[in-house]
């Protein structure tokens, strides 16, 4: 089951797993003021950044500890989580910790945010870094006192000699520890969970105070010396080339420094989120540049004419569904024979739209390209892929590109792409100065790597006991030149594959000329709705409790053999016992078994989804408002991501946020195409969930005895089908198309 669940991993991150590689060593060094640097040594270079901060830990003589967060912060909380892991093992008090954001540097493994991998990849390695630091300080103290290390203990920034009660602070020991050789990371011993002082404690985000002062620096807030502002206008139809533009006229407008045509690099760029054709305007003020952009008149090439439209997609899908799928993804048993025998057969078609990420901070990047290389300030999830893209497109040595990872105002997969980065770099190069590129909201919605839409034509047969014995999905999805569009696939092991004896997944592609890509829980954010809703239909048709049917299908607790390790990370095995655990927990917390006692017009729906190693079951209680729109009363979630919640402050927030994000998708979000262009332009046509539509979300973590895994994505998918299943229970109307059309709930067919 598991291979696909790391599919949302940025491809450009070929850093060597999370092991600090053999050519890189943990090393010690002496800080400027006489403190300890616990750092890395790579190819003879001992790492310290411009301010003399070590790769991981710097302890000043006054006991203040600076810990580096090596991964981008996009709102998922890694800038707090990773230093917590180090600080706990190091044995210091959190109030004495200062956190510093790393730059992109080959010395650090895995500098990306994606795939909910921050926790599983870094959980052990970061603790080991902290433990190595503690071991050094213990050794320094033991040496000072002339006693065996085993007689010493460390906590709260102090080493204590047990029998004599003597103490030395970390600050006092730092200089001496700096002279000792760093231990082998694999040899250090980690604390027992009962000894944790920071892990598991409610810990506020390290940037939160600065955010509330307006002092945190997001990508959009970067200012560098001699900086100008830039805007970049691209073809509204993907892949359009600039034929001519009124450049000379634009240059004469107030405040404009420069305007020029930029040529895209290759034909694949629009699909691959690389540099595409456009017109750049550079000004001393962004407002002037953006006002000038509105006066641009650009002739786009014939490619900028397209009849691609959502309506045409829908017609095409309905046509294709009449014939057999173009290719077979998986075939078990004999579906036709089993359907012929089945006492009950159900057919249903499901559809969901394209989605834009709509990070609240529009895409932006600051770049200064010089003869010597490039310096870039970017809110990106994948800085290494960005640097690689800039190097290739501009012909700069990747080693000469410095990337500052700026705090990002949301990402959700959007910033795993670096189109804004390569645009900023190219504009800076052409303008010969530092520029800050900023898109407006319309550009942000109209130039995205969209979550692909899709169509599922299901047919299933039930036996006399209401158990599915045959299951078919003809998945009509999107592709480009005969190849699947990014994240538009149905994995061959997607549930219920393997749990129903006769099963067939087939696929047919519709040609698409628009970029698609990772969006929070790629695949799952779409597939869960279709599969878990249809499963609910099967339960009702077979007279089964939707909970009991799921428990029945997954069967007794079993642990499947895991796939081989990836990126130095052991892939956790799929465990049906954990499925059962969260299903039963959510049923208990939501009073699922008493749902028939709910007042008329109110219903409960349930769904389960496994993704990114996380097991999540959700129940939604919903009905209709007085206006006849969906009204969600409450949502319950049971989540199993292992034995340890590292930071409850972040964990509950991520889970509630992901669930409400999914709710917003179900209720509102849709990107549509007309004449090859995206129709939506701003939040008046691309609606996001607001607080008045936001129900209470109760989250329960089931702490099974498994290594901790990530949480940013797993809670999202189940809410979509759970909501639709609840609305069915409340109204008898089955939602088979997203976003939910309230008119259909009030009147339409069932």
């Amino acid at each position: 089951m598991s291979a696909r669940h790391v599919a949302g991993t940025p491809s450009g991150t070929d850093a060597p797993g999370l092991r600090i590689s053999r050519r890189t060593f943990l090393a010690t060094g002496l800080a400027a003021g006489g403190g300890l640097l616990l750092t890395l040594k790579f190819a003879g270079r001992t790492f310290a950044d411009d301010a003399g901060v070590a790769a991981y830990i710097s302890i000043a003589p006054d006991g203040i500890v600076t810990i580096v967060a090596k991964n981008p912060e996009i709102g998922q909380g890694m800038k707090t989580t990773l230093p917590m892991l180090i600080a706990d093992e190091l044995g210091v008090e959190w109030k004495n910790v200062r956190v510093r954001q790393a730059m992109l540097d080959p010395i650090y493994p895995g500098q990306f945010a994606g795939g909910s991998l921050g926790t599983p990849l870094n959980w052990i390695p970061m603790q080991r870094v902290g433990a190595a630091g503690r071991q050094l300080l213990l050794a320094a103290a033991a040496h000072t006192w002339g006693v065996p290390v085993s007689q010493c203990e460390a906590s709260a920034g102090v080493v204590r000699h047990r029998s004599s009660g003597r103490t030395l602070t970390y600050g006092a020991l730092a200089g001496k520890a700096a002279a000792l050789p760093a231990p082998d990371l694999d040899s250090v011993t980690l604390k027992r969970p009962s000894e944790y002082t920071i892990i598991g404690k409610f810990t506020g985000g390290v940037d939160s105070p600065a955010i509330l002062e307006g002092a945190a620096v997001f990508g959009i807030d970067v200012t560098v010396a001699e900086m100008s502002y830039a805007v970049y206008e691209k073809s509204p139809v993907f892949g359009g080339r600039v034929v001519r533009a009124n450049i000379e006229e634009i240059k004469k407008l107030p405040g404009i420094r420069d305007a020029f045509i930029v040529r895209g690099i290759d034909a694949e760029a629009p699909i691959k989120m690389g540099l595409v054709d456009g017109v750049a305007i550079v000004a001393d003020k962004w407002w002037d540049a953006d006002q000038a952009r509105r006066k641009l008149r650009i002739d786009w090439s014939h490619q900028a004419v397209s009849d691609q439209s959502t309506q045409a997609f829908e017609r095409r899908a309905a046509q294709l569904a009449q014939s057999a799928p173009r290719s077979i993804i998986r075939r078990d048993g004999d579906v036709d024979a089993a359907l012929a025998r089945a006492p009950k057969v159900l057919e249903a078609s499901y559809a969901y739209p394209f989605l834009a990420h709509a990070t609240l901070e529009p895409q932006n990047c600051t770049a200064h390209v010089t003869d010597g290389g490039a310096e870039i300030w970017a809110p990106t999830q994948d800085p290494r892929a960005g640097a690689t893209l800039v190097a290739r497109t501009l012909g700069i040595d990747a080693g000469k590109i410095r990337v500052h990872m700026m705090r990002a105002g949301g990402a959700f997969g959007r910033r795993a792409y670096n189109d804004y980065m390569v645009e900023a770099a190219m504009i800076s190069k052409r303008a010969g100065r530092a520029i800050k590129l900023l898109w407006d909201r319309t550009q942000d919605i109209q130039h995205d790597a969209y979550r692909p839409g899709g169509f599922h034509y299901f047919k299933a047969g039930l036996d006399a006991a209401g158990r599915p014995v045959a299951f078919r999905d003809h998945f009509v999805t999107f592709g480009h030149d005969g190849r699947l569009a990014a994240t538009a696939e149905l994995p061959r092991d997607h549930f219920p594959a393997g749990y129903i004896p006769n099963l067939e997944y087939g696929q047919t592609l519709i040609e698409l000329n628009a970029p698609t890509g990772w969006m929070r829980n790629p695949g799952g954010n779409a597939l869960a709705f279709a599969f878990e809703s249809f499963l609910d239909e099967l339960a009702h048709a077979g007279g089964r409790d939707p909970l009991a049917l799921r428990l029945d299908l997954y069967g007794p607790p079993r642990v499947f053999a895991p796939p081989p390790a990836r990126r130095g990370m052991k892939i956790p095995p799929f465990d049906t016992g954990r499925v059962r655990g969260v299903l039963e927990l959510v049923a208990q917390k939501s009073d699922w078994h008493r749902r028939t006692a709910l007042p008329a017009g109110t219903g409960m729906g349930l769904a389960f989804y496994y993704s990114h190693f996380g097991y999540v079951a959700e129940v939604v209680k919903a009905g209709l408002s007085r206006e006849g729109t969906p009204k969600v009363h409450k949502i319950w979630a049971a989540v199993d991501i292992g034995r340890q919640i590292i930071n409850p402050a972040g964990a509950y927030n991520q889970a509630q946020g992901a669930i409400l994000d999914g709710l917003g998708q179900a209720l509102h979000m849709a990107v549509t195409f007309e004449n090859g262009r995206v129709v939506q332009r701003n939040f008046d046509t691309y609606h996001l969930l607001r607080i008045n539509e936001s129900p209470p979300v109760e989250v329960h973590f089931l702490r099974s005895d498994n290594d901790p895994t990530g949480l940013g994505e797993p809670p999202l998918p189940p809410v979509l089908p759970a909501l639709c299943n609840a609305l069915f229970a409340a109204t008898g109307k089955r939602i088979r198309t997203l976003p939910i059309d309230a008119r259909m709930l009030r009147a339409g067919e069932t």
Binding site: G205, F683, R690
Partner: protein
């Protein structure tokens, strides 16, 4: 054109075309970047500031229309009693995820509490539904407003650990 405006109690002189929105004057001229850009047309509330105490969308407020009005931004809101309480509640509950919308949330919440120190859920919906949080931190925003108001905390939505 040159304009003299009052920002967080300080008189500032700024240069810009008459139709330049206050948002860009604050961000790019005065380097008060805590006020954020989200939509540019008054739909998301990321740019919310106070104009004589009233929550106002800086992205659609031209600099020429400000005159003598007193502007307060996230950088200055902590000076007021309610601003301080709201920020304390925000920190205590760790409301933020990415944090990008939160200046707007704090400005709107403060304006609400000044006007109505004991807001109901419906009052909160009404005052806050114009401020989008793409990370959907709404559960904690609601709880933090109640905490700042000294009202009973909403039922706990976080299970036992």
């Amino acid at each position: 054109m040159r304009y003299s405006i009052l920002v967080n109690g300080n008189r500032r002189s700024v240069e810009g075309a008459a139709d330049t929105p206050l948002l860009w004057v604050l961000r790019d001229e005065l380097h008060l970047v805590g006020t954020k850009f989200g939509c540019g047309i008054g739909l998301c509330g990321a740019c919310t500031v106070h104009l004589n105490g009233a929550p106002t969308r800086a992205c659609v407020t031209p600099i020429s229309g400000i005159g003598e009005a007193s502007i307060v931004t996230i950088e200055g809101i902590g000076e007021s009693e309610w601003g301080r309480k709201v920020k304390e509640a925000w920190l205590a509950l760790d409301v933020m995820q990415c944090g990008y919308c939160q200046a707007g949330q704090v400005m709107a919440a403060t304006a609400l509490l000044v006007r109505n120190p004991t807001p109901s859920d419906g009052d909160i919906d009404e005052a806050m539904s114009s401020i989008i949080c793409r990370c959907c931190t709404y559960t904690r925003i609601r709880a933090a407003i109640k905490r700042a108001a000294g009202l009973q905390a909403p039922e706990t939505l976080e299970g036992e650990l």
